[in-house]
């Protein structure tokens, strides 16, 4: 993770606040289950911190490719 990025994993209170901000209507039991799943996902997303990914070309690489795809 970049030094400037906040951590992906959130404590339950922060997760609840974000769920509310995202407009999700969700009970406490379901929220706790979702929070646990988010912890698993956050750990998986550490793969996105591999060196060089941030500097890599996006998908698709160029306006020309995007234009060709859209023909």
């Amino acid at each position: 993770m970049d030094e400037t990025s906040p951590p992906r994993a959130l404590d339950l209170a922060a997760f609840r606040a974000l769920a509310t901000a995202n407009g999700l209507r969700i009970g406490e039991a379901e929220l706790a289950e979702l929070h646990a799943a988010h912890g698993v996902l956050a750990a998986l997303l550490a793969r996105l911190d591999a060196p060089g990914i941030r500097e890599h070309e996006p998908w698709p690489a160029s306006a020309a490719e995007a234009w060709e795809r859209g023909r």
Binding site: S5, R8, F15, L18, A19, N22, G23, L24, R25, I26, E30, E33, L34, A37, H38, V40, L41, L44, L45, R47, L48, D49, A50, G52, I53, R54, H56, E57, P58, W59, A61, E68, R69, G70, R71
Partner: protein, 478 residues
């Protein structure tokens, strides 16, 4: 029952007979030895007999199908044969619009939705003369299965009704395997035609991204979504793909170029082809079972005996593809379904709701990093495949679990062996490669660079011609 002893179908009660393949039926129909009306009656009789147990169909359009079959029969009798799908009974995943036929996306949110127009792939099937039998069960919004609290319960695996039938095109996999229809159209965002194909012992082809139109199909993740054919044989998948592919002005992601080779008649010969075996997707800690890896070795050995030049190709870590695919899919899936997830979450099954909600927590920077990882993986995959024409890998990493034991977030615990080919838009076929010790199907995937769909289909067709697995059908309860 009408058509109980239909012309060209023999003397046994038709509900006890598996239908012919599309290619076989088409030859017979064209020659006047098989009636499209009798063929539709065969499928309707089988649906009546077996689908109460299998639950593959959400809607059976019997009257419309009979009318279309009569029309096909009359046209063919007049010499107006439209092609290999003319008079062939097919069915459509319920994520795909069918004019005048209820299309629910597998959700009670859309329980009463009847589209006015066909999806482009359905319109093309109808123009090719196919007879639409009805709509097939799909996991809610193509993501939420197997959910026991869904609008429609999951279709049952005809090889063992207690185990997962795959998804999200589950009804399609079951209906084809059980001989309720001759072919189907499914959709595939992370493996949703190939997984049910693998678990039901049928063939399914995820085409090159953009080869077939997504217009009129409920979007899960636009840059990963692919409609694709599902049928008993690869030969039949090729015939279906040839009918549905091509540019569509209503879907700007469709390609303006034709695939290489002859998709409709790709051939069935692997002699001289360079095929790379991808062992590192399945052979490693927490990846494929020993039986899966042994099966892959058998596939490689057999293809080698058939004349292919076999080598090993080492691709990037399967988790890298899976994480990129899951990140992009989760985020786009939430965006596509946010209105009803926010307004009526109680109408959505718990599995779907949880998985969709999870996508709302994906950060923008992670979504963008996933797209960049996607680019890197494309370059690495292309480089690794530099000396081969196609690759083969396992179809699934493990046998299907009992449906009752499956967890909402199981997909976060194991990488997804079908996902790389969605992520990179590569054509990928799943075909049956045998049966495990429990009698459940096993499968391999064949993949190739974008636009080499005919090559993938050629390898699958060669495999099926040289192996006995297309002769084995599930034993269905009466």
């Amino acid at each position: 029952m009408a058509g109980e002893r239909g012309r060209g179908l023999g003397a046994r009660p038709v509900s006890e007979r598996f239908p012919p393949t599309i290619a076989q039926a088409s030859r017979e129909i064209r020659a006047g030895r098989l009636s499209p009306v009798a063929l539709v009656e065969l499928c309707l009789a089988r649906i009546a007999r077996h689908d109460g147990h299998l639950r593959a169909f959400l809607l059976v359009a019997a009257d419309e199908a009979r009318a279309a079959a009569r029309q096909a029969e009359a046209e063919i009798a007049r010499g107006e044969w439209r092609g290999p799908l003319h008079g062939i009974p097919m069915a459509i995943k319920d994520a795909i619009d069918t004019a005048g036929l209820r299309t629910t996306f597998g959700s009670r949110v859309f329980a009463d939705r009847v589209p006015a127009q066909d999806a482009e792939v359905v319109a093309r099937l109808r123009r090719a003369g196919a007879v639409i039998l009805g709509k097939l069960e799909c996991h809610e919004f193509c993501l939420g299965g197997p959910a026991l609290d869904a609008f429609a319960p999951p279709a049952r695996n005809p090889w063992n009704p207690e185990v997962y039938a795959g998804g999200s095109s589950s009804g399609a996999g079951v209906a084809v395997a059980a001989g309720l229809c001759l072919g189907a159209i499914g959709t595939d965002t992370g493996g949703s035609v190939r997984i049910p194909a693998a678990l039901n012992a049928i063939a399914a082809h995820k085409p090159t991204y953009g080869l077939a139109s997504n217009h009129g199909i409920h979007p899960l993740s636009q840059s990963l979504d692919h409609p694709g054919p599902m049928a008993w044989t690869t030969e039949d998948c090729a015939l279906i793909l040839a009918a549905i592919m091509g540019p569509d002005p209503k879907d700007p992601a469709t390609l303006g170029v034709a695939p290489r080779g002859d998709v409709a008649s790709p051939g069935a010969e692997v002699k001289g082809l360079r095929i790379g075996v991808v062992r590192n997707f399945s052979d490693g800690p927490d990846l494929g079972t020993p039986e899966v890896n042994a099966n892959l070795e058998e596939v490689a050995t057999t293809l080698g005996r058939m004349g292919a030049r076999i080598s090993e190709v080492v691709l990037p870590d399967l988790w890298d593809y899976t994480v990129a695919n899951t990140t992009i899919m989760s985020s786009e899936a939430f965006l596509n379904n946010a209105p009803w997830l926010r307004a009526s979450p109680e109408k959505v099954s718990a599995f779907t709701r949880g998985r969709m909600f999870l996508g709302s927590f994906v950060r923008a920077e992670d979504y963008l990093r996933a797209q960049r990882l996607r680019r890197r993986l494309a370059a690495a995959t292309r480089e690794a495949m530099r000396d081969v024409d196609a690759i083969v890998c396992a179809g699934m990493l493990a046998p299907p679990a009992p449906v009752a034991s499956m967890q909402k977030f199981y997909y976060l615990r194991r990488p997804l062996i079908t996902a790389p080919f969605n992520l990179l838009g590569m054509p990928a076929l799943s075909t049956c490669t045998g049966f495990d010790a429990q009698g459940l199907p096993m499968a391999a995937q064949v993949a190739a660079p974008p636009l080499d769909d005919a090559l993938v289909l050629r390898i699958g067709q060669a495999w099926e011609s040289a192996t006995p697995w297309r002769d084995r059908r599930p034993v269905l309860p009466a």
